[in-house]
């Protein structure tokens, strides 16, 4: 009995309790063909690749997605924006009840009921609910012109906060070094171990680093039914340089599950990855046959999460189990500021 309990405990990765410096990130390497599991220093990540490899990162910057407001009736709520407002000043968002990140989302008060036409105050902005999809999903339109809306959201909004991270997070804590357009509701955290020194080392080795921009959504909402339906439809963009870089590559390694979703969605549509801007609701698991991607750099994922399911497309379950147990027993950490796992064919 004890053995069963400890095996289950071992497979849950303790969350990193703060935004750790990138240099502290540990790297687990899983080689599928040889069934080899070992640890490598993060600073040597580039040495695992050569000029025939292409790494694809998600260059979406993280939004100031979390912003507080109240209804006309004075009921407080937190909005989590899934994207910044578009040119029509409208944005999709999830509504949470009163309280903040110190309370885990599943224990937060239910949100006020928002209906189409409701008038809201969001920070110093006025907004109207233009569509309501169930109790927690809304589309809202901000008043004022778009420059003011963007500036105001950046002034008042914060990145999504996590109950397991003690100190409040600033936007500085949740951006990758190469991030550009703010499309991600939460940090595409698989890219954290890639600092500029890694980009520079990859360049010197002749490894191509290509990009997609993928609007990664929320990792959890705190509502069991909605959480089970994640990930939702997310938008992505593949630039023409990436289409070209992927042609003739020996190994394409995705940095993050969002990149896998984008590249596989494109490859399923066209037979190969093509430049496009589109959306995807693809869910990937062990039944998925990979068409574009051969390797994955990701975080340490607990069993029963959709991220962990996705790993099944890259390696047999038994190997993933073995790797998880190996890493958990050596104190690898999970969640946004945790350690990294590279799964490569050989």
């Amino acid at each position: 009995m004890d053995a069963v309990v400890s095996a289950q405990t071992l497979r849950a990765f303790a969350p990193a309790p703060h935004a750790r410096p990138v240099a502290e990130t540990r790297l687990l390497v899983v080689r599928v063909a040889s069934r080899e599991v070992h640890e490598a220093p993060r600073s040597t990540l580039a040495e695992l690749f050569d000029e025939r490899d292409v790494l694809v990162v998600n260059d979406a910057a993280t939004l100031p997605a979390s912003i507080f407001g109240e209804t006309e009736r004075g009921e407080p709520f937190e909005l989590r924006l899934l994207a910044l407002p578009d040119a029509s000043r409208a944005a999709d968002a999830v509504v949470l009840g009163a309280g903040d990140y110190r309370t885990p989302t599943e224990r937060r008060a239910p949100p006020p009921a928002l209906r189409e036409g409701d008038w809201l105050i969001v920070s110093d902005l006025e907004a109207t609910v233009v569509a309501s999809r169930g109790a927690r999903r809304v589309r809202i339109r901000f008043e004022r012109q778009v420059d003011d809306v963007i500036a105001s959201l950046y002034r008042a909004g914060r990145s999504v906060q996590y109950a397991h991270v003690r100190a409040p997070l600033a936007l500085w804590d949740v951006q990758n070094v190469y991030a550009s357009e703010p499309w991600a509701a939460e940090m595409p955290s698989a890219g954290r171990p890639i600092d500029f020194a890694t980009l520079d080392a990859l360049r010197k080795r002749g490894v191509t680093v290509a990009r997609v921009t993928h609007g990664a959504g929320l990792s959890s909402i705190g509502d069991a039914a909605l959480d089970a339906s994640l990930p939702w439809v997310e938008r992505y963009r593949v630039p023409i340089e990436t289409e070209r870089a992927l042609r003739g590559a020996r190994r394409v390694v995705a940095v993050g599950t969002s990149v896998v979703r984008a590249l596989e969605s494109s490859a399923m549509k066209f037979g190969e990855v093509r430049a496009e801007e589109s959306t995807t609701n693809l869910r990937i698991d062990a039944r998925h046959t990979l068409r574009a991607v051969r390797g994955l750099l990701t975080g340490m994922h607990d069993a029963t999460t959709s991220h962990r399911d996705l790993l099944g497309a890259f390696a047999p379950e038994a190997l993933l189990e073995e790797a998880s147990a190996w890493a958990a027993s050596r104190g690898f950490l999970g969640h946004e500021f945790g350690d990294s796992c590279l799964i490569i064919p050989s």
Partner: protein, 241 residues
């Protein structure tokens, strides 16, 4: 760099050289985001560019504030997409009238460095990494001859501009193989509010018009591939090769 359709982020954009750079870049077809603390003057510059058919946006933030860097870079990318040109033009003279170094409070000295050096570095860090991934981009640091001369009373400002030049030199070396061009420009003495604040007794007739200097700096950006990484260019002496 061909500027049509490119995105440009300019700090210190509400007046003087920054406003003129916004105007010239927009006339070349760039999508421009201007940053400054004071919203009113900034919005007037943006309105003028739009009235002339250009695309411009205003973000009222203070480059000296740590939290502003992501607000500026993220807000700009949200408005105009990936930033292709970054002009670090905002700066402060520090307390006026400008004191001798022996009379300068070290807290004021630090505050000047915060706005003129650390603030630009923060934005370079955000925008430069994205440019390196995309393998294109131009970063310009606006300097001053006070960076290389020992003018009495220009101590805090001069030190900050010397440091800004050195940031451009090292960043230029680090990013050149990633396809990103970085250089600094001494615009020379211009007829601006900042010049009047520093030297109220100057004869304005002897000073260059910021619009003319902006034309020259934009020409440098267009020829960035031919400029040595981290070079320090002096606008009055520079001619397109």
């Amino acid at each position: 760099m061909e500027l049509r359709g490119k995105s440009a982020l300019i700090t210190g954009g509400s007046r003087g050289l920054g406003a003129a750079l916004g105007d010239v870049l927009a006339k070349r077809g760039a999508r421009v985001v201007l940053v400054a603390r004071d919203r009113g003057p900034l919005e007037r510059v943006v309105a003028k560019i739009r009235a002339e058919g250009g695309e411009a946006h205003a973000l009222a933030f203070d480059v000296g504030d740590r939290e502003s860097a992501h607000r500026i870079a993220g807000g700009a990318s949200a408005l105009v997409g990936d930033v292709d040109v970054l002009v670090q033009n905002a700066s402060t003279l520090g307390p006026l009238p400008m004191p001798f170094l022996l009379d300068t409070a070290c807290e004021d000295f630090s505050a000047t460095l915060e706005t003129n050096v650390t603030g630009p570095l923060r934005i370079d860090k955000i925008v430069g990494g994205s440019m390196a991934l995309r393998k294109r981009g131009v970063i310009v640091h606006v300097s001053s001859d006070a960076a290389v001369s020992g003018y009495p009373r220009w101590g805090s400002y001069g030190v900050s501009k010397a440091a800004l030049d050195q940031l451009a030199r090292v960043l230029g070396a680090e990013l050149t193989d990633h396809g990103v061009r970085v250089f600094s420009v001494d615009p020379g003495e211009m007829d601006t509010q900042m010049h009047a604040d520093a030297m109220p007794e100057a004869d304005r007739a002897t000073l260059a018009r910021p619009e003319r200097v902006a034309e020259k700096i934009v020409a440098m950006i267009e020829r960035a591939d031919s400029i040595a990484p981290g070079a320090r260019l002096v606008a009055p002496e520079w001619t397109p090769s």
